[in-house]
Every structure is written in C-alpha cells, then in structure tokens.
C-alpha cells in the first residue's frame, strides 16, 4: 500500500510488522518521532506480545535491551549522535555477547560544538564495535531494511547487533511515497525469534562470563568470523527480499554505469543527489559511474576491489573523518584497493548539516576528473577563533 509518509513512520511501521517483544528508547532529535510513533501504536494496543519502555537515558535503553535480548526477546531501539555514543559501552558489550539487537541510527553530528544536524560521525565512532552497519538512501529502503535487519542479525551464523543508518532530517523528516509492507509478507519472510541459547530457569546458563587471557581472544575472533559469515548471509537475504518485495536494492554495493573510467562513491541519502549529478556529467561527456556503498560493516573489500580495481580515478565523498587522518570511507576504500592502480581523491563535505548543493558537488567531480582538485575538506570557510 503506497502512502506518503515521513521517514519516522516508514521505520516505525516496519518495526511494528516485525513483531518486536521489547522496545526501549530515550528521545533524541532527529530520532524521537520514530519511538513516538511506536509509543502511539503501543498506547493503542497495536503491538502484540510487546513491552514498550521509556528509559532514563540511552545508556539504560541499550542495557534494558541487553537483558531483554538475552532472555530471548526480539528488541528494538532508535537513537543517534550523543545517544549512540552514550550507548557505546553497552553496544560493544552486546556485540560481544552476540545479542541481535536492531538499532536505527538517524545519523547526526557529534558535539562539540553542539549540532543536531546531519553527518555520519556518530555511527563511524561505533565502527569497531562488532555491529553490522547498513546505510540507506531513502525512506523506502529504510522501511525495507528493518525486516532484513532482524533476519540477518538473528541468523545463527551471525548473531550480532544490526544498525540501520539513515540520515537525520534529510530522511527522517522528509515526506516520501513509501510502499508500506503487508503483515503477511513480513511474517512469511521473518520467523519468530527462537535463539538457541537464552536465559531460562529450565536450562540455566551463564551469559557474560569473564575471559582470562587463555580464552578472551577466541571470543573476539569468533565475532570476526561471524562478521565474515554475515557477508554471505546478507547477500542471500538481500536477494530473497528483492524476490518477495519486488524491490532490488542490490548487494553490499550498487554500481551505476559499471563500465566507467571514473567513479564517485558515497553512502546514505547523498547517493540520491549523486545519481542526478552523475547523469548530468555523463551528458557532458565525462565517463563517470556511481558506487553506492550500502554495507559498511562487514566491509565489502573484495567486491570493491573487483569492481573498482581497474578504474582510473575514484572520488570518495565522506561526511565524517578520523580527526588526525582523513575521511572514514576514504581510509577504508584505500585499504581495500591496496595494490591496485586507481587514483583516489577524497572529499569531506557536509559536516554538521552543511548543505551540499548540486552545482557545488558537480563542480567538484568535474574538476577532479580534469585533475584540477585536491583531496580535503570542501565547502567551508576559514575563520579566526580563540583556539585557532
């Protein structure tokens, strides 16, 4: 059923269809309306076999879900920015305990200075946590990703938390036509959560045992193996989803114009704008294709090397950076392409919600192909501050 809805609702409605048992969150802009929608459904008795809890902080929200997930419940939370990093101690722990909590992160900048606006710095800070990270381009993809997230996270070959990253404001607040899923479609795709081990008095087990040096490493290696297995599981689930929903979002990557000499690569809602820009540059005669990176963890290094290893130039658009080095995606891509020949130009744009106008990015891409542009921060002004 196609309806014009906001990003919040596209997520909340999809969460409802996944039949979660425990939803727990703390409000934070620009996430709040997701859990407000769920709270309304809960207040109206529309969520069966479910408990909705308003926690006293994101730290508590994530902790409540650790308990609930360990007890065998399907769990959901949404957060971003300060909320995500307040959760971070718990989320690293949840990943180590192999709890398939699903999180929607409505990407927002980190303080200081305080900013409620969009960039990708928050989820990048959780890069090493052992959480699957997928970035969506629009609200239909966000809607479609929720059932897939549960299927992948709860697969016994994976059993890791899953974070769907959607741009704050740019997607959350946007009205878009979304084809809302039917309950029977989701039910046939996503079976109830039946973990192999969970907290029960019928078979007492201990969760979260501490590990001395003779066993700790084995647990961490097991997480890496699970991430590696997740790559295959995700590809299969993505394909199955395309078949049952009729919407094919691609694999870990989507490549537009794969025979191009030059490529631009980005994540999230910016890809929508780049589709248009790439088309316009091609009509000017430039050989340029587009790579939409959907999965950031596990990182699809082999796919990138296979598809981009023989390109001439790759332009990376980052909306976050590792302070003291460079853009996050750029770091990962260069590592993936090690030993191949493409020239990589990387730009860091749009931090803290700074607008990325179409003509601005088109000019950047054009100049990059023509060899007139250097890597670095773009679209900011130098100014004198107390601390320079």
């Amino acid at each position: 059923m196609k309806k014009v809805v906001r990003g919040f609702y596209s997520v909340a409605y999809s969460v409802k269809l996944c039949r979660p048992n425990v939803i727990c969150a703390y409000p934070i802009t620009p996430q709040t309306e997701i859990v407000e929608n769920l709270a309304t459904m809960y207040a109206n008795g529309e969520l069966e076999n479910c408990r909705y809890i308003t926690a006293e902080s994101e730290f508590a929200a994530a902790s409540i879900l650790v308990g609930a997930s360990a007890a065998g419940a399907r769990t959901f939370t949404a957060t971003c920015s300060q909320g995500l990093i307040l959760m971070s101690e718990v989320l690293f722990n949840a990943a180590g305990m192999r709890l398939p909590i699903v999180i929607v992160n409505t990407n927002r900048a980190l303080s200081a200075p305080l900013s409620i606006w969009n960039d990708l710095q928050d989820s990048m800070a959780l890069r090493d946590a052992g959480i699957v990270q997928v970035y969506v381009e629009n609200n239909q993809e966000a809607h479609d990703m929720v059932p897939q997230a549960y299927r992948i996270a709860e697969d016994k070959r994976v059993m890791l938390p899953f974070m769907i990253c959607m741009d704050g404001f740019k997607l959350t607040h946007a009205y878009e036509p979304v084809d809302l899923l039917e309950q029977d479609v989701v039910d046939s795709f996503l079976p109830p959560y039946r973990p192999e081990v969970y907290l029960t008095t019928k078979k007492p087990l201990a969760f979260g045992c501490y590990a001395p040096p003779h066993v700790y490493m084995e647990f961490r290696v097991a997480m890496q193996r699970a991430m590696e297995r997740a790559k295959d599981v995700m590809e299969k689930v993505f394909k199955e989803w395309a078949e049952i929903s009729g919407r094919d979002w691609g694999g870990h990557l989507e490549i537009v114009y794969p025979d191009s000499k030059n490529f631009v690569i980005a994540m999230g809602s910016l890809v929508g704008l780049l589709r248009k820009v790439v088309d316009e540059l091609r009509s000017e005669g430039f050989s340029i294709g587009l790579v939409k990176l959907r999965t950031f963890r596990p990182f699809p290094a082999e796919e990138l090397r296979k598809n981009l290893g023989s390109a001439e130039k790759i332009i990376v658009i980052d909306r976050s950076f590792s302070c003291g080095y460079e853009g996050n995606l750029s770091i990962e891509l260069k590592s993936a392409l090690y030993g191949t020949n493409p020239e990589v130009i990387s730009f860091i744009l749009g931090l803290g919600g700074r607008d990325i106008p179409k003509d601005f990015i088109k000019e950047l891409l054009r100049n990059s192909i023509l060899g007139r542009e250097k890597s670095g921060f773009k679209g900011f002004k130098e100014f004198e501050e107390v601390i320079p």
């Binding site: 101690e89 305990m97 907290l199």
Partner: protein, 292 residues
C-alpha cells in the same frame, strides 16, 4: 549447594557468599541473577568455571538494574513470568556510585529484587572507597595521612533513596543473619515492583579482620547500631532489629585494620566520637535500644 558455590573463588570467611546462598535458597533457585562487575562476578563467573546453578548474566559494571528491567519486561512480553524472579546481586560501588540505572528501575517500578551486597568499598580491586564506605574508614583512595584520616564524607543513605522513589519494599540485613536474609527475600518475592535489600557483608581482606572474626564483627556492626537492620513496606517502617545494651563503637572499630589509624592520634579520637554520634543517631532514628 544446589544454586551457587561449586568452584567459586571467594576468600575463606567471605560475607558475600553466605548472603548469596541464602538469597538463592529463599527463592528456591527460581530466579534470574543479574550481577554487575565486582567481587561476586570475579569469584563466580570465569568462563569454564561458572559457579551458578541458576540463569546468570553479567553485562557491565554500571547497568545491572537496567539489564534486570529488560529481563523482567521480556518475561512479561513472552508470557514466561512464572519461570522465576529477577534478582540483582550487586556490590556497593556498582549500586551507590556507578550504577545509576537503579533510579530508572525504581522510577518505572519494574518487578525486580535489587540486592546490594555491601562490603563498604571496592574490595575486588583492593579496597578503594565507594559511596557506601563509612565515615573514617581508611581505603587506598581515602588513605589515613597527616591531614586526612580516611574517608571524610558520609555513607550514602541508599535506604532513604529507595524509599524516596516509592519502592514497595526496602530492607537491610546482614550476612551474619541468614534467617533474616531468607525471610526478607521471600517477602520481597511476593511483592510486585522494584524492591531494595541491602546486606552488610564483612570482607576479610578489605576490612582487615581475621576470618574467624567475621561473625563477631558483623554482629558488632548491628550491636553498636552502626548498621541498623530495618524493614519498610510501602514506605512504613515495619520491623527494626532491637539491641539490648548497645555496645560502644570502639568495640567494632578496634577489630578492623581499616579503622586502626583512629586509635593512634588525637584526631582519630575525634573521628571515633563522630562515629559514636552517628550510631546514637541511628539508634534514636529507628528506636534500636531495647528498654530494660
């Protein structure tokens, strides 16, 4: 020892293990244990040497109450409430310092029995002060020196905090009163909501006492009124453990290395006098003295 004990690594004379065994016996093993990082966790949950015969989870140092809320809510959502009660077994640091998710548990009144095993400092890591370390105690982070004489702040009143949250059942007990622990835990398990029980647990190494003196020292804490044994239901004080011929606090303090510095200087004398004043205040507040 059906529910706890096989292979645990506690010191001989440890108060925690006495308390834990009695808590689990009172619940007949029908419970889910949430245990934050600390003494109890380290002595019982090494991978491959799990000492628990009940479902057990350790997540972090600072989130036991919230994890317990999650289990309690999950059991409700899944229709499995009959399986057992959710019990937190936390240390004093994890309760009164770093574990602030306790307040959300009280506020939303989740069905959890929160038990604070109070050995009055971070004993697992070698005796650092916590909010439940009493006034005048020397710890490694509040050492006795030339100008400071141990912890100069008060012991946090967690009982008052639990009561202020409207907790339906709040009590204190001691590892030296096993029957009292069992009665109170049983009672708590029949009350819906977020319950709080604080159990005084002597620590041989941290307090600097002889293993054979654990019961004696634990009893003296009660007999001096430094550790009032009380019970509140719906905010009303319903029982107090009375004391005949209350003992002077010196008798309690002098047996323990953690208070040794108070007996070697004129300033220490003043601190002992202040500790006596705290005991007198407790006795008056709860009517501890048994009149002849």
């Amino acid at each position: 020892m059906r529910f706890f004990g096989r292979g645990h690594g506690a010191c001989p004379g440890c108060g925690l293990t006495i308390a834990v065994r009695n808590v689990l016996e009172a619940l007949e093993g029908k419970c889910f244990v949430v245990n934050p990082t600390g003494c109890l966790e380290i002595i019982s949950s090494q991978y491959g040497r799990n000492a628990w015969g009940v479902p057990y989870i350790h997540s972090l140092f600072d989130n036991a109450a919230a994890v317990a809320c999650g289990i309690s809510e999950a059991l409700k959502a899944l229709g499995r409430e009959d399986e057992g009660k959710v019990v937190v077994l936390a240390g004093d640091g994890a309760t009164a310092d770093i574990g602030l998710t306790l307040h959300g548990m009280f506020d939303r009144n989740h069905d959890v029995i929160y038990i604070c095993l109070d050995n009055e400092a971070y004993q697992n890591t070698g005796h650092q002060q916590s909010a439940l370390t009493p006034f005048g105690e020397a710890t490694t982070t509040t050492p006795a020196g030339k100008v400071l004489f141990g912890k100069m702040g008060r012991k946090k009143d967690m009982v008052a905090i639990a009561l202020a949250h409207g907790s339906p059942y709040v009590a204190t007990s001691s590892a030296v009163l096993p029957a009292d622990i069992r009665r109170k835990v049983k009672k708590a398990s029949n009350i819906e909501g977020a319950k709080y029980i604080q159990i005084h647990c002597p620590c041989v190494t941290g307090w600097g006492i002889d293993g054979k003196d654990v019961v004696k020292v634990g009893n003296l804490a009660i007999e001096t009124a430094l550790y009032p044994i009380v019970e509140f239901e719906n905010g009303k004080l319903i029982t107090v453990r009375k004391v005949r011929d209350r003992k002077p606090v010196e008798e309690y303090l002098k047996l323990q290395r953690r208070f040794r510095h108070l007996f070697t200087s004129p300033e220490g004398k003043k601190i002992i006098a202040e500790i006596q004043r705290i005991a007198d205040e407790n006795a008056l507040k709860y009517g501890i003295d048994l009149k002849k």
